[in-house]
């Protein structure tokens, strides 16, 4: 059963907004509610929307299982390397070696409510991004594997 033209065009229109919104949640994790996992899940809904609109067979080439697996492994390796780098900077494992250091994401933050400055948080935004990519890849692979599982039956 194929989705009608209307559904496919709305999916095309909606997809960029879903991806931007998901990316916003991932990158603003340390300021607003959200973070790596929630943002990754939102982006994964974008993938589900694509598969709902277009049938599995003709999307198999474009959104391949391999690409999602790569993004998942990349996210995990980025996550564990940022944690391991803390060792070289003299901290314990998982130490926040970028915070208050003035470099990227290193601005100081005083106690108390403030409007929120993106350039703070030390290692947290990097880990947010890493987890976002990882969850995006993981959810994608789960969805594709289960769809391919149904595909063989049908």
């Amino acid at each position: 059963m194929d989705m009608s033209r209307i559904v496919r065009t709305t999916a095309n229109v909606l997809l960029p907004f879903i991806l931007i919104y998901g990316f916003y949640i991932v990158m603003h994790g340390h300021l607003t509610p959200g973070g790596g996992f929630q943002g990754g899940a939102v982006i994964a809904t974008g993938i589900v929307l694509l598969f709902a609109a277009y049938s599995y067979t003709d999307l198999k080439e474009k959104v391949t299982l391999g690409a999602l697996k790569n993004s998942e492994t990349l996210g995990l390796l980025l996550f564990i390397f940022t944690a391991l780098l803390a060792l070289t900077a003299g901290f314990a494992f998982f130490g926040n070696w970028l915070v208050n250091g003035g470099a990227i994401f290193g601005d100081m933050v005083a106690f108390g409510p403030n409007p929120g400055d993106l350039n703070t948080g030390g290692v947290i935004p990097i880990m947010n991004l890493a987890v976002g990519i990882e969850v995006l890849g993981a959810m994608g692979v789960i969805i594709l594997s289960m769809l391919s599982g149904i595909q063989e039956d049908a």
Partner: protein
């Protein structure tokens, strides 16, 4: 006989659960020192306004690495389950 046993066990379990639920006082926990420390020092130590994300990625970051590994394990398991077997790859069980 088996049904009565399961019903009895479930009833005891339900009574114990409800008794448990009235044990804690909702709204004002007994100790709050660890969380107060995190709320006061979260911004200064980790630089993030969202204290929950500070905990998830900095104070208890190792849990999140474990959790990402859980997700990675699940994905590997599902990939293993739905893999394409070779024709001759069948396992005699008897």
């Amino acid at each position: 006989m088996k049904n009565i046993l399961t019903y009895a066990a479930l009833l005891i379990f339900a009574a114990g659960m409800l008794l448990c639920m009235t044990g804690l006082e909702f709204g004002n926990p007994a100790y709050t020192d660890m969380d107060d420390y995190m709320v006061e020092n979260g911004q200064v130590l980790t630089g993030g306004n969202n204290i929950v994300t500070d905990i998830v990625f900095d104070f208890r970051g190792f849990d999140t690495l474990g959790e990402a590994t859980v997700l990675f394990t699940a994905v590997l398991g599902i990939g293993l389950i739905f893999r394409r077997l070779r024709e001759d790859e069948e396992y005699g069980y008897e």
